[in-house]
């Protein structure tokens, strides 16, 4: 064998070794599953964002304590690495945050999203990159129903504004209207006067649309006598509430974040002497809300699916109590609703990855679409978490609470007043209540 032949053989061996090494590397499992959490740590949504972050961290910590998620493609459990990004409750900041998660951090899946307007701003980027996103806070139905963006990678793991708007208005019609009519001896066919005060965003408009469609679809005897909007982050509602007061409503339905709902309630009751019942959307079921509204929120109504201070008498009662105990032990504070849906959202994402056995995004997306897993902390209709085939939404069991003052706590505490199968107290129309008109 001459030198040229030896050199040729050595060269072939070296190239073969390099190729084999490359193949081996391609087969090496990733170090973990990268899960991006999009939360509002600053801005108008920060009261809620911190709970979403903490709850996500708690879920990841629990999963990793068991070794992580078993991914069949690598025949091993992979830990989850949670990468938290602050969307600052602003659309442009959210786009930057999500772009970084996808392009630089190379996340396998996303969870979170609070403000609907902010979340919808990120959908173009996420849809283009085809990253599965379990949305756990933003409630606009547009997120999975809009036609201008491919929403097939978006999974709505929280009730939409249409769902809880409907629930709330049915409660108003079935419980509040008869109570008001009875107190003031109004005829049964008296039209209830409703005022809606909504955040000028996809979320707020979604609630308004949910209210209107519920009234129309069910032919309810409710008239919207005033609808006023405000910009996200507004803090002074006095003039807007004055306009609402001028319309003489029986009930006021704000669609607001806690940082807005708190001044709405306090300014309405304290500054304008609006002696009416104020409703609240579920996002306000947050410990800071109870603290912020003080006694001014007494007898107000709060639609919910998870409350820090009460447990619905359903099959998830034990899981609810355990989650709260674990969260308090870890963070020294009560959890809030968006936190628990984000906690569950992490488990949902993990289950989908386990089910499909790979980190391939298209496969994970399909696994989410076909997911069926038992309910966890929040009660789900039928007891099984599954996304609807058309718009990838989940049906939660909702309930209505009324806030009653608790001297011992020095704050209001919720009592479930509807529906009947979850009720723990009857709805109370306070002595100071004044109907809009006779």
């Amino acid at each position: 064998m001459d030198k040229k032949q030896i050199a040729l053989i050595l060269g072939i061996l070296l190239v073969s070794a390099a190729l084999l090494a490359g193949c081996t590397q391609q087969q090496a499992p990733p170090q973990g599953i990268k899960m991006g959490a999009v939360v509002s740590l600053t801005g108008a949504g920060s009261n809620v964002g911190k709970h979403m972050k903490q709850a996500a961290e708690m879920a990841v910590s629990e999963i990793n304590a068991q070794g992580g998620v078993f991914v069949k493609a690598y025949n091993k459990k992979l830990p989850i690495t949670l990468i938290v990004a602050d969307d600052e409750t602003k659309g442009d900041s959210a786009v930057k945050a999500v772009t970084k998660l996808i392009s630089e951090d190379n996340v396998d899946i996303l969870v979170g999203g609070y403000s609907s307007g902010v979340t919808t701003a990120t959908q173009g980027v996420i849809a283009e990159k085809k990253v599965p996103y379990v949305v756990t806070g933003a409630s606009s139905p547009d997120i999975t129903r809009r036609k201008d963006v491919n929403t097939s990678y978006f999974f709505h793991y929280c009730p939409t504004t249409a769902m809880y708007g409907q629930y709330t208005i049915l409660f108003v019609d079935q419980v509040m209207r008869p109570a008001i009519n009875e107190r003031f001896e109004f005829p049964d066919n008296r039209t209830l006067r409703l005022a809606v005060l909504y955040q000028d965003s996809a979320y707020g408009k979604g609630v308004l649309n949910g209210v209107i469609s519920t009234i129309t679809a069910n032919n309810l005897n409710i008239e919207i006598v005033s609808n006023q909007s405000f910009k996200l982050g507004e803090t002074d509602f006095r003039t807007t509430l004055t306009a609402i007061k001028a319309a003489k409503p029986d009930v006021i339905y704000p669609a607001a974040f806690p940082s807005e709902q708190i001044p709405i309630v306090t300014q309405a009751r304290r500054d304008l002497n609006l002696n009416t019942i104020i409703l609240a959307v579920e996002t306000n079921d947050n410990p800071d809300y109870y603290k912020g509204i003080g006694r001014f929120g007494e007898y107000s109504i709060l639609e919910s699916r998870f409350s820090p201070y009460t447990v619905p008498p359903t099959s998830v009662a034990a899981a609810d109590a355990k989650f709260k105990a674990d969260y308090i032990a870890k963070y020294g504070a009560f959890p809030d609703m968006m936190g628990v849906s984000t906690y569950e959202g992490v488990y949902v994402a993990a289950k989908a990855i386990e089910n499909t056995g790979t980190l391939d995004k298209a496969a994970v997306r399909d696994a989410l679409a076909n997911l069926q897993m038992p309910q966890m902390v929040e009660a789900i209709k039928g007891g099984i978490i599954k996304f609807s085939p058309d718009y990838r939404e989940v049906q939660f069991e909702l309930f209505m609470t009324q806030l009653i003052w608790d001297d011992k706590a020095g704050e209001n505490r919720p009592k479930i007043v509807w529906p009947e199968n979850q009720k723990e107290a009857s709805f109370v129309l306070p002595d100071w209540y004044q109907a809009g008109t006779g």
Binding site: L41, A44, K50, D236, R238, T240, T242, A243, S259, R270
Partner: protein, 293 residues
């Protein structure tokens, strides 16, 4: 929308209250601009600092927050002096861009510093008089807002007395009118810069305190929008004109609330800038401004 007189009075009242916050903020800004001819975009952050200092001392001590106003004004006055000495003094005369970037940098320093110390969360305080209303005819006006209007008037009277009836005030006005002339007659203009910045910061602190006492939500980023509006007010009223700041603040407060009532809440901020544009078209120097400013 039917116009009820009682409702109109209430809307005017809310406008007057909002105007008080703007007046104090814009007057402070105008005082600083008048003497130093610098633009401080971080002025809204001084309002924010005032809000936090008042809220913190109130929670820790239980002192009536209205009583804390002089204390907060004093503390912010000292901070203002520090900012003037350490930040603006070294770059005075080196160009407007330097002033702008410096104040933009101060915005982030203040916002992030407060977020680090107090957290990002939006907070709200309750005034000790929150449950008290004063009946005026058919209307119940919350006592807090009456106090806020009176406190604002008192501060403005005090400022008037200072500027018109004291040697210090005359020196400040002289510096603002003609800096070189003031130097020639022996006025220490650098001392005037320091004092004007201190007083301007104190006025911002008063605005922040009244914001907190009225039960509005406060957070580290609350100063941005009021600062922009304060700039719009001083342009509307005339750069360097304190009467202009007062009139401009009132116009803004009432116009915003009027727009919110008649057009809807989302028009509240837009109307302020629409007014500015309209006024500048007809009077480019502002309502009380002078040529050349």
């Amino acid at each position: 929308m039917a116009l009820d007189f009682g409702i109109l009075i209430q809307v005017l009242f809310w406008g007057l209250y909002a105007g008080c916050i703007y007046i104090l903020l814009a007057t402070g800004l105008n005082l600083i601009f008048g003497v130093m001819k610098i633009v401080n975009f971080a002025h809204g952050e001084l309002l924010m600092l005032g809000a936090y200092i008042t809220a913190t001392v109130f929670v820790l001590s239980g002192f009536n927050p209205y009583v804390l106003i002089p204390f907060t004004m004093f503390v912010l006055g000292l901070i203002g002096i520090g900012v003037e000495r350490l930040c603006f003094r070294p770059i005075l005369g080196t160009g407007k861009l330097n002033e702008i970037f410096l104040s933009l940098g101060l915005i982030y320093i203040f916002q992030n510093g407060v977020a680090l110390i107090w957290g990002d969360d939006r907070q709200v305080l309750n005034s000790p008089y929150q449950t008290i209303s004063v009946p005026i005819g058919d209307i119940q006006l919350p006592l807090d807002y009456i106090i806020i209007i009176l406190v604002t008037a008192l501060i403005l009277v005090g400022l008037y007395v200072l500027l018109r009836r004291t040697d210090l005030g005359r020196a400040l006005r002289a510096t603002s009118q003609n800096r070189k002339g003031a130097m020639i007659v022996g006025i220490n203009v650098e001392r005037m810069d320091m004092i004007s910045f201190g007083i301007g910061s104190g006025l911002a602190a008063a605005a922040g305190t009244l914001w907190v006492v009225s039960g509005q939500v406060f957070n580290p980023y609350m100063g941005s929008l009021p600062a922009i509006k304060a700039f719009a007010i001083i342009i509307l009223g005339g750069l360097g004109s304190i009467p202009g700041a007062i009139v401009g603040g009132l116009i803004y407060g009432i116009a915003e609330n009027g727009a919110a009532y008649f057009l809807g809440g989302i028009w509240k901020d837009s109307i302020s800038f629409l007014i500015l544009i309209v006024v500048l078209i007809f009077r480019p120097t502002g309502l009380f401004g002078e040529e050349g400013e």
